[in-house]
């Protein structure tokens, strides 16, 4: 069932997200073609015959940056809108009567949403490579100023980084879900309440983490003086722990409301 839910999730959101991503890539390609016609990134600025082209490229670069901003905003807006309309508006009459458990519904929305978030970053990176490919290759260092040594600590740090980024990404999306779920409990001003709840919960977590850090400072000041305590691993581990806590809280709020407090009126 999870696979089928995800299939329709990608179908429903992809229709609007993919054109935005294609737009970013197209602007990058168009810019690159014009720059190449003008003799490449290094020279086309200098050639007086290409003055008008510099203006055109300038505009196109502006549109390209706007397209990137639009694609990133659209991704987040559609993730939020999809969750809200598919579960709490008219479509919810169908979604919520499918023989599917609440957990599967949440993951069926969360995984595609995370995929789109990652895809949006990949699209931006690919577009930059298309636009500046040659330049990046020219300036790519042949020798690094420091020696790269692959140690077991480095492997562990890489794994921790991957894990904490993934959990952080999921927790970030779940924060939207829990806020929307709490918002729809209200009789009126559902969206307004959702926004207030979103910032409220995030500030609450920020305050908790600040207190936790101060707690460490006050109760075991020697921890700060111990250089060993402040390596990459411990920082990633702390970030991972914080993300796990936030993600779990948001998940259980969403789950509880969808399971016990659904009120489609």
């Amino acid at each position: 069932m999870l696979g089928r839910l995800m299939k329709y999730e990608f179908l429903a959101t992809g229709r609007q997200i993919l054109p935005a991503y294609i737009g970013v890539i197209l602007f990058a390609v168009l810019n690159r073609i014009l720059i190449e016609i003008g003799g490449g990134m290094d020279t086309f600025w200098l050639d007086p015959r290409w003055e008008w082209m510099v203006i055109v490229v300038g505009f196109l670069i502006f549109f390209y940056i706007m397209a990137i901003a639009a694609a990133l905003v659209i991704t987040i807006v559609l993730i939020i809108r999809r969750f809200y309309t598919n579960l709490f508006k008219d479509e919810g009459y169908l979604t919520n009567t499918l023989p599917v458990s609440v957990d599967v519904h949440i993951w069926g929305k969360l995984i595609p949403a995370a995929c789109w978030m990652i895809a949006s970053v990949i699209v931006v990176i690919v577009s930059v490579i298309i636009l500046l490919g040659g330049v990046i290759a020219d300036y790519w260092p042949t020798e690094w100023p420091f020696e790269l040594v692959w140690t077991s600590t480095a492997t562990l740090a890489a794994l921790l980084w991957l894990l904490s980024s993934t959990v952080g990404l999921l927790a970030g999306i779940l924060a939207y879900y829990s806020a929307l779920s709490i918002g729809q409990l209200a009789k009126r001003y559902k969206i307004l309440l959702a926004i207030v709840v979103y910032y409220g919960i995030n500030y609450a977590f920020a305050i908790i983490f600040v207190i936790a850090i101060f707690g460490v400072v006050i109760f075991s000041p020697e921890a700060w003086l111990e250089p060993e305590a402040f390596n990459v691993l411990s920082i990633y581990a702390m970030v991972l722990g914080a993300s796990l806590l936030q993600g779990a809280v948001h998940y259980f709020i969403t789950r509880y409301i969808l399971k016990n407090k659904l009120n489609l009126e």
């Binding site: 008219d90 479509e91 169908l94 919520n96 023989p99 599917v100 016990n260 659904l262």
Partner: protein, 232 residues
């Protein structure tokens, strides 16, 4: 366990209104039941509670002896009083959607009904008229081989010719052991197909009897009885 739908002291309170007040109801298998009452009497609330779209303020609603959940949703086919299909889908995609999620969905039957109504599988829900959307939804719901059908105002928004088609679809497509609950205030149109009637008035059941009982004991049609009971 021969009860398909059971309400025990079922209560639903909205902030300013009591929609259902300690309703007790038992519906068995193999019947077509009219859930009748004026606007705002609690018909839709009762149906939504059985589907798990609302949570009761008190009491219980049981489908096949179970509280609403994954298992009850497998055997319950629900037609809401609104358009619930995603607008971006085509009729064909909507069929695939039901086929993907409901094991008891009969694809051949649905395709056949769609073709007989002249609805192209490539037509988008978005471009369909309200009446056509209602027909597509009814085809989807009645193509499920479910135990319990809860149809909320299935004939409310369509012309009289389409009403006959819809009623025929309902009568011809439910199985012997299944029960169909039709909520409406258009009683004349559906009276001839009903086995039982439940009158709902201001959140309470004021009458529950078979149509034969209504005719024999009260000596009048359901429509006439409704007009008498709910006289303004």
């Amino acid at each position: 366990m021969s009860l398909l739908l059971e309400c025990r002291l079922l209560t639903k309170r909205y902030p300013l209104r009591l929609a259902l007040n300690q309703v007790n109801l038992q519906l068995g298998k193999g019947k077509i039941v009219g859930l009748l009452g004026p606007n705002g009497s609690g018909k839709t609330t009762l149906i939504k509670l059985a589907n798990g779209l609302l949570t009761p303020s008190g009491g219980h609603v049981l489908v096949n002896g179970q509280e609403p959940g994954v298992e009850t949703k497998k055997v319950l086919a629900y037609l809401p009083e609104r358009s619930y299909l995603p607008e971006w889908m085509t009729a064909g995609q909507a069929l695939d959607y039901f086929y993907d999620f409901y094991e008891n969905f009969n694809m051949a039957k649905a395709e056949d009904m769609l073709a007989r109504l002249g609805i192209d599988k490539k037509d988008r829900i978005k471009t369909m008229s309200k009446g056509t959307r209602e027909k597509v939804q009814l085809i989807l719901v009645m193509s499920r081989e479910a135990d319990l059908y809860l149809l909320d105002e299935p004939i409310g928004g369509v012309d009289p010719a389409a009403r006959d088609y819809i009623l025929n679809t309902i009568i011809n497509n439910y199985r012997e052991n299944a029960t169909v609950v039709i909520s409406t205030h258009l009683i004349q149109d559906i009276e001839k197909v009903l086995d039982e009637v439940v009158f709902l008035n201001r959140g309470e059941i004021s009458l529950h009897m078979t149509v034969d009982q209504v005719r024999e004991e009260r000596g009048m049609s359901v429509d006439a009885l409704f007009r008498e009971v709910f006289k303004c």
